[in-house]
Structures are given as C-alpha cells and as structure tokens.
C-alpha cells in the first residue's frame, strides 16, 4: 500500500500537487512505510510497558499467558485481548491510571450507561500531545494565526471544549471560548469579532444559521466550520455550507483516546486522516473479533501510542468504519472512512451517548409499564428527538386519564435523570408493541445521518 502511494505521486502532474498544503508537523503527518512502522513499533512497546503499570493489564496478560516483552511487532498486537468501555467503567475512578495521581494534571469524564462516568486522566505530556494533534488538524484545514476561532461546545467535563481550546491557542488562532448556549450572543460575537472558524455540533450550527437568518445578521466573515460529537451526513454538509457560507469539516475523536483530534478531514474531505504515529488502527469484525480485510467495514479498534496517564491496548470504539488505502492528494498518510454507524446499539442524541439498555433499565424499575418498548429517533428542525413507546401495564390502568398523564410525566422525568436528555414518551396499549424472538430490534433511527 505504501508503495502504491509513492507510485501514485510519481504520475501526478505537477499542476495537481498542492503547493499550498500546510503542515503542523510535516514529517510526522507524512510518515509512511518502514519509517512509520518503526516509530509505531517503538511506541507500541513503550505503551505496553506503560500499560503493565495498571492492575487490569497485569491480570489480563497473566490470564492470557502473554509476556509483555512478546509484543514487539505491529502484528503482535492481535495477541492482546480487547479493552472495552465496560472495563474502564468497572475500574472507576482511577483503575486505568498508570502514573501517580499527582502527575495527572487534568481529569475529564464521559457519561456512561450506569451511574458512574468513565474517567480519563492526562499528564502534562498528554495535554501537550493532544494540543499538538489538534494543531495538526486545524493547520490541515487551512487555519492559522490571524484566524478567529469560536469554540461553541461544552467547556466542562466534556473533552471537546478544552481540547480544541488549547490546540487552537497552540497554533496561534484567536480563540473565543464561547461554550454553549445563548445563540443570539454567539451570533453577535461571530459578527462583531469577525470570526472565521467555528466548532460545534452540526445540528447546533444549523440552528444557529436559522437564528442568524431571522436576525438578519451578516456572518460573512465565516469560512470554516468544524463539526463533531454527533454523526452527520453529506446532505447535511451541503446544508451547512450553503447556510453559513463555510467549508465544513468532520472531526472525530473520543475521550478515551484524549478527545477530539484523533481523526480529521483534510481539504480534500474524502475520509478522515487518523494520526498513525499516535494511534494504531485496526478494523475488526465486532462479532468474531477477527481482523477485517482491506476495504471491509468493521469496528474501529485503536491502540493509542503516546498516552502516558491512561494507556489503552486495543480499545473497542464501537464505531464502524473502514481503512482507505489509497493515497490522499494532501500527501498525508492514513485515512479511514467517515464513521458510518455503531457496532453496538448506542445512539448519539444531541451529542450524548444513549444506550437502549439504559431505557430498558428505567422501564424495568417502573411496575406501571411493561418491559416491551420501542425507540424512535428523528431529526426535527435539526434537533434529534427520541421517542419512546411503552406499554401501559394492564393492571395499572385505573380508568382515569390523569393517572396516565402523571405516569407519562414521571417516565419523562426518570428517563431524563438516567439519560441526561429529554425524551418523548408515548403510552401505548398493552400488547400492541412488537414482540421479538431472538435479538430484539427496538431502535428505529429515522434520521438520515450516515
């Protein structure tokens, strides 16, 4: 593959080469072939050493009869068992931290299916690495000193706010940490500060464009939009670009792998460049755990190669993608297709991960309703809506409408507490929902996002 990349370049006419392409770290970004392999293997060995400071991995290696020193080559990685989100959750709070807690200089968390979140920790070096990766991404899409960047995502425990913030400062942008909320104020700032680039969820960007339209505010200073945290389609890209007069770029990341910045589109916008010197990528069949062949879609499994506080081996992201082996016009190595789905049934609703199992858990705790349910996901006016149909328990029905209405409100509230998002609850007649034999198909996603 690496060879073909070079051959490809030999035959390109000079006029097609991108003289304009800017790199943050050109040698790393274009690293390929044996040089890439060498650095990946060196970093993999270090990551294994780092991981062996964690009780979880000591136990896993022992149980599987693997010697840490036997993981030398890239292909040796397949000997190592996968690490799942659930493993991280069960090790709450600091079970996956490989350094003294005093060396952890920041903690983020992600929401989980049960009460406890997943904790991610960062050393000074981790934060520097992460900011560097964000700086690569921003440079890759043409942003540089002189650009004004409004970061319209949550600045709290969510990694998207601070992650982008420090990366953007590092590459010299003027950063406006506007965070979320108050759309009119956001629009005013874009206008008044001549903002050139924004980062937010794609659905929020569409909402913002509509409000700006109503307010008749001129947002023509904008040229770049970075969108992530929830899936979005090519149709939505066109809508965003037309509405805001921008070029829209897809950003991929997850907190367990630092946060945003793991993979990002370049100006070609034909797949996501994943930073191969920092993340070792495998695509697996999520049912069998076997490696997929080239060009086959499967679950993205990542071994971060530079993480210090929280090393992970073969982390199952649950995201479905495939490797793109052809070279890219920007001459950077390593691409994956944009994420096309989830290998489990996790849903991303307004940027929040929702598992149908959480819904089931809530319903099981309420005797007034049955255990059957259906979940419908729609995108209405650019906002994700979750509708849950649930059967009223035959014995519960008193004949009174207000008892049903109270039940409906109570379910909305309990689900809100558990899922952290507002849902619509539809009470349906007992026995009216489909019964499943074998694997239930309870989720109908009617958004056209992939």
């Amino acid at each position: 593959m690496l060879q073909s990349d070079k051959v490809f370049w030999l035959f390109l006419p000079n006029t097609m080469t991108r003289g304009m392409t800017q790199y943050w770290d050109e040698s790393m970004e274009r690293l390929n072939g044996p040089d890439l392999k060498e650095i990946q293997e060196k970093r993999l060995r270090n990551t294994v050493i780092q991981a062996m400071k964690i009780g979880y991995y000591q136990k896993k290696f022992k149980e599987s009869g693997i010697k840490p020193e036997s993981i030398k080559k890239i292909d040796d990685i397949t000997k190592v068992p996968f690490t799942m989100k659930k493993d991280l959750r069960e090790s709450y709070p600091f079970g996956f931290i490989a350094v003294p807690i005093s060396d952890v200089i920041r903690i983020h968390t992600t929401s989980g299916t049960t009460g406890k979140p997943t904790v991610v920790g960062y050393t000074k070096k981790d934060l520097d690495n992460w900011a560097g990766l964000i700086a690569r991404n921003l440079t890759m899409i043409g942003l540089k000193k002189g650009d004004v960047f409004q970061n319209m995502v949550n600045y709290g425990m969510f990694t998207g706010g601070l992650g982008f913030h420090y990366g953007a400062e590092l590459c010299g942008l003027t950063v406006i940490p506007s965070a979320t909320g108050n759309t009119k104020r956001q629009i005013e700032m874009i206008h008044d500060f001549s903002v050139t680039a924004i980062h937010c969820t794609p659905s929020y960007a569409l909402h913002l464009s509509e409000v700006a339209e109503e307010e008749k505010t001129d947002l023509s200073s904008l040229k770049t939009g970075i969108f992530g945290a929830e899936p979005w389609s090519e149709t939505m890209r066109k809508e965003l670009e037309d509405a805001l007069g921008i070029t829209a770029f897809d950003s991929y990341g997850l907190s367990e792998l630092y946060g945003p910045g793991v993979a990002f589109e370049c100006e070609e916008r034909d797949g996501l460049h994943i930073w191969h010197d920092s993340y070792l990528v495998e695509i697996i069949d999520s049912k069998t755990g076997e490696q997929c062949t080239d060009g086959e879609r499967g679950e993205l499994v990542v071994t971060p190669l530079v993480k210090e506080a929280m090393p992970l081996l073969r982390y199952r992201t649950g995201d479905v993608t495939m490797k793109i082996e052809d070279g890219c016009l920007c001459r950077r190595a390593g691409r994956i297709e944009r994420i096309t789905g989830r290998s489990d049934d996790m849903l991303v609703i307004r940027g929040i991960n929702v598992f149908p199992s959480q819904i089931e858990h809530v319903l099981l705790s309420r005797p007034e309703v049955g255990n059957q349910f259906m979940v419908y996901v729609d995108r209405i006016n650019h906002l994700d809506e979750l509708t849950i149909e649930v059967e009223v328990n035959r014995e519960f029905f008193s004949g009174e409408l207000h008892d049903l209405a109270n039940l409906q409100n109570k379910l909305v509230k309990t689900l809100h507490d558990a899922l952290e998002i507002r849902t619509k609850v539809k009470l349906v007649e007992p026995g009216s929902l489909p019964r499943f034999e074998g694997k239930a198909k309870r989720v109908i996603d009617r958004r056209e996002i992939y």
Binding site: G399, H402, L404, L427, E429
Partner: protein, 144 residues
C-alpha cells in the same frame, strides 16, 4: 342513606390516539348487542380514555378485554336536568353550593330527559349532598 343504588358503572377504555380505535370499540359492542347510552372521549398527549355508559357493562368489559383493550370500571353518578334553558345551571349551582369537586362530566338527552353524568372524588358524599339539596339522581337500575 342507601347510596349504592345511585352508583353507576361506567366503562373506561384506554386507547391510543390512532385511527380506527373508536370504530373497533363501537363494533365490538354492536356485535354483542350492547347499547351505548352516552359516551365521551378524553384526550392527553398521544392517548386518550373512551368513557361510555352502556346497558350491559359486564358484557362490554369482557368483550373489549378479550379483544385486547385495556378496560376498567369507573363509578359515576347521573343527575337529572330539566331539558330546557337553565337546566344545567340549576344543577351546577347545587353542586357548587354543596362544594362537590367534579373530576369530569358529560351529558346526554334521552328517554329520561336530560342527564348529567358526573365523576366525583367521593361518590357517597356527593350522592347524599345532591339528594339533600333536592336534585334527582338516577338509579343504576335505570341503565343496567
């Protein structure tokens, strides 16, 4: 005071707000020759309750349940109104003066004249008060 004879069995049916549900209920009752004396529909967000006074509540309950409907009996009372202007006002005034809390009500006009069906939180108490204030309550035997 004997109040039980004034307690009338209304059938209440939980129904999703979707086409054909009312027709399905009506058809089932027709086939079992159950006569609907009065009915009303109360609606909330996406669902409703169909309330009906019928001549054979037990038959209605069993046929609708067997068809999968979620059915319950609800105790209501029936007050006779004058079938002329001011008829409702007379009764409403009595109820108001007696401090009776009405959850819902609906009315019909038939061979017994005009009748107001009431769902109250305490039927026994309401029956005594209404009779003492001189209004006429219909006995359940007139319906079933």
């Amino acid at each position: 005071m004997e109040t039980d004879e004034y307690c009338i069995k209304q059938i209440s049916v939980f129904s999703e707000n979707k086409p054909g549900r009312l027709a399905a209920i009506a058809k089932a009752l027709m086939e079992k020759k159950v006569n609907i004396l009065a009915f009303s529909i109360a609606e909330a967000d996406g669902f409703g309750v169909v309330r009906a006074l019928v001549d054979k509540p037990e038959v209605a309950h069993s046929i609708l349940s067997s068809l999968g409907f979620n059915v319950a009996f609800t105790e209501v009372i029936a007050v006779r109104m004058k079938d002329e202007p001011g008829g409702l006002y007379d009764i409403a005034e009595i109820l108001g003066n007696a401090g009776i809390n009405i959850e819902y009500s609906y009315a019909y006009s038939g061979k017994d004249g005009a009748v107001l069906i009431l769902r109250v939180d305490n039927s026994k108490d309401a029956i005594e008060k209404i009779i003492n204030l001189g209004a006429t309550l219909l006995k359940s035997s007139r319906f079933h």
